[in-house]
């Protein structure tokens, strides 16, 4: 070959003249991406009136200039032919896809007619549920103003276990309210993390962590994505992470590798717990007459736990003034987890992790935590006024997400993880795990949910927000007979701490009229007739089911807002078409889920980049308009005229939740000089735009760590409006509110669970973390259904709302069922086989793909790739329909064998237990190969949808 080169180098080929400096764009605007929930800052290059190019904003605190596979495909979101173009009224039967296109006047008048009647009669007959809504602080406020307790977003089927367990334990959470100290950690453990919150920050940080030589360990049944680049992959069996973590705790306690100093100073490890079995106060904290918890002093007496200084004991028995005994929380912890049931040998088979591996990991955690401690030369002062010359930390960071959360034991598993973090003293210390503002919050948290008897009245707002954190049975949203008062039964005995609501129960309960019939179901951005529903086929039936007595739908009216022709549009009666994220104002609020990072609060906006080319309106504008038309007090002024005539833009600027606190924290006050709190600033949005559409406040270095006990931070957080008072936040190893529910189940107190749920409450509301087998696996015949089945979203599509994206669907247009090769060999299956996958609820047909990197007891697939024919303006022969499939058909909202009486959910939070699914896989007959099942009738579609082109030559004109 070398001979060729010699010859050809003698002469030249013709070269073209390349324009190496073309003009990129006419204009660049900043905004916030919405291709997923990650909220990265983007720069949108506009040329000839359209989008030329989207890139990451280097100045933005979330993504620091990078962008992901979805974000860069945002152009194809904007130019999708699946966009709705006009308000619609259903004309055919539900689920058929026949519509009449209507004007906005008619759409709004119809909605107002339906909603005003409900509000005047009984506001709870409106169920208003939003999906991946980033305006929840406004939509929740609207529901409160309307007066219905029946509001929630998608958290109940997403990650409420993660959020609630964290909020009750450490006043913050994994999920997106905290992260490992990526900068200083020497070991990071990630549990059940796929392409999850946060998307780009994890990618950026994981790579930096690897490059500086720190170690990452991924505990995940599947070796893809982050697990693929982890230094160690632990292919745990789904739903057993909690047991694995408790075994690590067992080993650490055995070896006395726990940070007692941290526990004594920052946690309730020393608080005394009353030991009086059979009494109404058993298991509650011993308190003095002012309500202060007590600790065991050096001389055996008791002392106020909130008084700084003094020496305490972690093991021992106190005799209380009334003669009862009490022991420190730590003693209960040590007694429980030193038990041989948590020894590595005892858990290895259940978790699918060799005992030696568990022991080695515990040793590695202990070594790094206790022998590689780090110390930053940053003086700080703690809550009691004691100055510390350095910030010390044990550099073991952790993160966890949906793989932990989406199980019926997810709350306690997440609690177990926090217990592990606390025992080695790694919460908000250098190298450990860090809070993101507005966290930490008081722990246990507030506020409590509204909607109790007397709080829902015709024509009136509710006294408080519909979602919150119950502290005990008295805070449940139930009637005098203990029956649920919310349509989703959140905050009832079925799910007492359902802090995010239970959207997955909504349609089933509304259909059954259980606990009562509703009038209108109003949903936003939630594909509940398809991939967001458990038991999808049954859900579609419930949406279309009619009462034979009246001939009316059992769910009388459905209003839905979506930007695209998703499956759910075909099931709604009135459709309010939304804009894309390039076409509206939006706010990533500090009142909701801000973009804050570990070094300080931050929030951001979206600004309209393009004017809609069709007759659609931003949902938030529509909601505010409806609020004014309905006369909701906060949405009208004293004269009854709209309070926010400019829509969401005006609301963002002028709404105040409390005096001085509004949706946006930056540039408040009439001169824009205040941050956090301050009067509304008419120029606030322009100030955001001038700053790249975000605001960021950098905490001084002395406030970076120990935030829960850091005097300067706590004071500053109050000044910024992040927390209500500057009391230290004591981290809760032992969660007393759980014990209060448990005592009720044991027959104490005025509010007690119904008989059928007593055992369930008593067992699971343990104030210290427990592990129990996921419910479905415990209920079904595990010989008949031997495999776990889970899903994850692919990185290029995570949270990206749909296969209408011409580029992303080329990357993944049909999903497969992935199975371990060894497992397949045992079942006589080979690569590419078509198989039937059966659960207790039904069966689906899918094509197999064999792999090595998956737990041998587990099959998995990419979620939400399968679509329903006719939806999304895709051709009827698209692979999403013909070969794609959903596992949802195999998952039920209620547990098998419970007579539909028990949720397939975490018994504490009501979190949908998607990942508890158990299946059997069998080869499909040859005649059935080639196509997935089940398939449903092809949906019709609105006449105005743009025809899908045969060829896309996007960008060609700009050349």
């Amino acid at each position: 070959m070398t001979g060729w080169g010699e010859r050809w180098r003698d002469y030249w080929s013709p070269q073209e003249v390349v324009d190496t400096s073309p003009r990129v764009s006419d204009e660049v605007k900043t905004t916030t991406c919405y291709m997923c929930a990650g909220r990265c800052g983007i720069k949108v290059h506009l040329k000839d009136g359209g989008i030329r190019y989207i890139e990451g904003n280097p100045a933005h605190p979330v993504n620091r200039g990078v962008i992901c596979g979805k974000g860069a495909a945002g152009i194809m979101h904007q130019y999708s032919p699946a966009k709705l173009r006009k308000p619609l009224m259903r004309v055919g039967e539900r689920g058929v896809g026949e519509f009449r296109e209507i004007e906005w006047d008619e759409a709004m008048a119809t909605a107002v007619e339906w909603l005003s009647r409900i509000r005047a009669d009984d506001p709870k007959k409106l169920a208003f549920f939003t999906g991946r809504d980033q305006s929840q602080s406004m939509t929740g406020f609207w529901a409160t103003q309307f007066g219905t307790p029946n509001f929630a977003a998608h958290g109940g089927f997403c990650s409420v276990n993660m959020a609630a367990a964290g909020m009750y334990t450490i006043g913050g959470s994994f999920w997106e309210f905290g992260e490992p100290d990526w900068e200083h950690a020497k070991l990071v453990l990630m549990f059940g993390v796929a392409e999850d919150h946060d998307s780009n920050p994890i990618k950026i940080s994981l790579s930096a962590l690897k490059r500086r030589g720190a170690k990452s360990i991924s505990i995940n049944p599947v070796r893809t994505g982050y697990s693929a680049i982890a230094d160690e992959w632990i292919g745990v069996r789904p739903g057993t992470d909690g047991l694995f973590v408790l075994s690590l705790i067992h080993e650490l306690l055995q070896a006395d590798k726990v940070d007692l100093d941290y526990l004594a100073r920052y946690t309730n490890a020393g608080w005394l717990v009353i030991q009086a079995p059979g009494t109404a106060e058993d298991g509650l904290f011993a308190r003095d007459d002012k309500g202060n918890p007590l600790v065991l002093g050096a001389t055996g007496g008791v002392a106020n736990a909130m008084e700084p200084g003094g020496e305490i004991r972690m093991v021992g028995e106190a005799a209380l003034a009334d003669g009862r005994k009490a022991v420190p929380v730590f003693q209960l912890i040590a007694q429980r987890y030193l038990d041989p049931q948590y020894a590595p040998e005892a858990v290895a088979a259940t978790c699918g992790i060799p005992a030696d591996t568990i022991r080695r990991l515990a040793a590695e955690i202990a070594r790094i935590a206790f022998e590689e401690e780090i110390e930053l030369p940053v003086p700080w002062t703690d809550w009691a006024g004691r100055r510390h010359e350095t910030m010390r930390g044990r550099p073991v960071g952790m993160h966890a997400m949906r793989g932990i959360s989406a199980h019926s034991n997810g709350f306690q598993t997440c609690r177990a993880l926090h217990l592990l973090q606390l025992l080695i003293g790694t919460i908000d210390v250098p190298g450990g795990w860090r809070y993101k503002a507005p966290h930490p919050k008081p722990c246990p948290p507030g506020p409590k949910p509204a909607g109790k008897p007397g709080q829902v009245e015709a024509g009136k707002p509710m006294a408080g927000p519909p979602l919150g954190y119950p502290m005990g049975p008295e805070d449940l949203i139930i009637d005098a007979d203990g029956q649920p008062l919310r349509i989703d039964k959140a905050f009832s005995w079925e799910a007492p701490i359902a802090a995010h609501g239970m959207m997955h129960m909504l349609i089933k309960n509304a259909w059954a009229g259980d606990p009562y019939k509703i009038d209108t179901l109003f949903m936003y951005m939630a594909n509940m007739a398809w991939n967001s529903a458990m038991n999808t086929a049954e859900t579609m039936r419930m949406l279309t089911d009619k009462d034979p007595a009246t001939g009316e739908y059992r769910i009388p009216r459905i209003i839905y807002s979506d930007a695209f022709y998703s499956e759910t549009v075909a099931y709604a009666d009135l459709i309010l078409p939304d804009t894309t994220y390039f076409e509206r104002w939006d706010c990533i609020s500090i009142l909701d889920r801000p973009i804050a990072n570990v070094n300080g609060p931050a929030d951001s906006i979206r600004q309209p980049i393009l004017a809609p080319d069709r007759d659609v309106r931003p949902f938030q504008d529509v909601l505010i308009d409806l609020g004014a038309r309905l006369g909701l007090p906060a949405f009208v002024n004293a004269e009854g005229a709209p309070r926010y005539p400019g829509g969401y833009k005006d609301y963002l600027t002028y709404h105040e939740r409390q005096p001085g606190i509004g949706p946006l924290a930056g540039w408040r006050g009439v001169d824009g000089a205040s941050h956090g709190k301050g009067a509304p600033n008419p120029d606030q949005l322009q100030r955001y735009i001038d700053n790249g559409c975000f605001w960021k406040y950098e905490l001084p270095e002395e406030q970076h760590y120990y935030k829960h006990a850091n005097r300067a931070y706590l004071d500053n957080a109050v000044a910024l409006g992040l927390i209500g008072n500057a009391d230290p936040i004591v981290l809760q190893l032992y969660v007393e509110p759980l014990q209060k529910f448990r005592l009720a189940a044991q027959g104490h107190g005025a509010v007690q669970p119904p008989e059928r749920l007593k055992a369930r409450i008593e067992t699971h509301f343990d104030p210290l973390p427990i592990w129990y087998p996921p419910f479905e696996g415990a209920r079904v015949d595990t010989v008949a259904f031997p495999l776990n089945a889970v899903t994850q979203r692919p990185m290029p599509m995570y949270h990206s709302w749909g296969s209408q994206n011409a580029w992303l669907r080329q990357i993944l247009g049909a999903n497969r069922l992935f199975m371990n090769r060894v497992t397949a060999a045992g079942l006589g299956l080979v690569d590419d086989d078509w198989v039937w996958v059966s659960s207790h609820a039904g069966r689906i047909r899918a094509q197999l793909k064999l792999m090595d990197g998956v737990n041998a007891h587990t099959v998995w697939t990419w979620n939400a790739i399968g679509k329903r024919a006719g939806a999304w303006n895709l051709a009827a022969d698209s692979p999403e329909f013909s070969r794609g499939f959903l596992l949802n058909h195999l998952i039920t909202e209620t547990l098998p064998g419970s007579g539909a009486a028990e949720g397939n959910a975490d018994p504490i939070t009501g979190q949908a237990a998607w990942y508890d699914l158990r299946v059997r896989v069998e080869k499909a007959p040859a005649a059935e190969a080639g196509e997935s099942a089940p398939h449903f009738s092809v949906l019709g579609h609105p006449a105005s949808l743009r025809a899908s082109p045969d060829i896309l030559r996007y960008g060609g004109a700009g050349r």
């Binding site: 080929s13 890139e55 070796r223 007692l260 020496e311 305490i312 730590f330 580029w807 045969d950 896309l952």
Partner: protein
């Protein structure tokens, strides 16, 4: 047949770090997005909303497993995410095979380009390229390929720090690096030296300019371990709680 230029000093190319690539496809869609309006625009998509949608992509990601699992999940098996685009070879068969001179290698920086004006769409280059890096635009009937974002890297309308290929700009894990591999002192060359950067299929002799940094070894279960923590001797009896009884701690 098209001749190669006298080789210059400058060999612009990419270094791709397989140790941190998570397969997110950011580089693939960012490439598609930039180049859809760039030098080789458009990058058409055929049947984009139907069956068998396929389009022109200059950068594609392959995910695969390698190695074998041992007992209890041990062994050297791992998952690899492998981005693939033109390697801007020093001896590019795709250029020498071109009958019209449309496919050429630039003398000044080594970038391999296609002059669409004289490409006749014969596809000989795509047959010649062993890396599958050529992308045929059936709509225009011409061959297209990675330009190394030639309309970004020298672009005076772009801030100097951002004059990088779109795939490099965008990569969330910093798995992609751009620079002059002809300069042994460049950051990319030093990275290749330090990490044992590899040529793809070197035995074929096309001398790719782009290099791949191999993934570090991953542990599954069987791995030499530090000694397990040794429990301290227990106090009298075997009640483990006793060792903490006399511990006094300050609040």
């Amino acid at each position: 047949m098209t001749s190669l230029p006298i080789p210059g000093q400058k060999k612009l190319g990419l270094v791709i770090d397989l140790d941190v690539c998570v397969g997110c496809h950011a580089c693939a869609t960012a490439c598609k997005e930039w180049n859809s309006g760039g030098h080789s625009a458009p990058l058409p998509d055929f049947n984009p909303y139907g069956a068998d949608a396929y389009g022109v992509w200059f950068n594609r990601i392959h995910s695969f497993e390698e190695g074998t699992s041992g007992e209890d999940g041990g062994g050297d098996a791992r998952t690899v995410h492998f981005p693939r685009s033109c390697l801007h070879c020093e001896e590019p068969a795709c250029v020498t095979v071109c009958p019209t001179g449309a496919s050429y290698k630039r003398a000044e920086d080594g970038i391999v380009l296609v002059n669409a004006d004289i490409c006749i769409g014969c596809k000989l280059c795509s047959w010649a390229c062993p890396y599958g890096a050529r992308e045929f635009d059936e709509d225009e009937g011409v061959m297209k390929k990675c330009t190394l974002c030639i309309d970004r890297i020298y672009n005076d309308n772009i801030a100097e720090a951002e004059r990088l290929p779109a795939c490099v700009m965008v990569c969330p894990t910093s798995a992609r690096h751009f620079g002059d591999l002809g300069d042994p002192n460049s950051a990319v060359s030093e990275m290749v030296a330090a990490r044992g950067g590899k040529d793809l299929m070197p035995e074929l002799g096309y001398r790719p300019v782009n290099k791949y940094l191999p993934p570090r070894r991953q542990t599954t279960a069987a791995r030499p371990s530090p000694a397990p923590p040794v429990p301290p001797p227990l106090a009298a009896g075997d009640n483990k709680l006793l060792r903490w009884v006399d511990r006094l701690l300050s609040r």
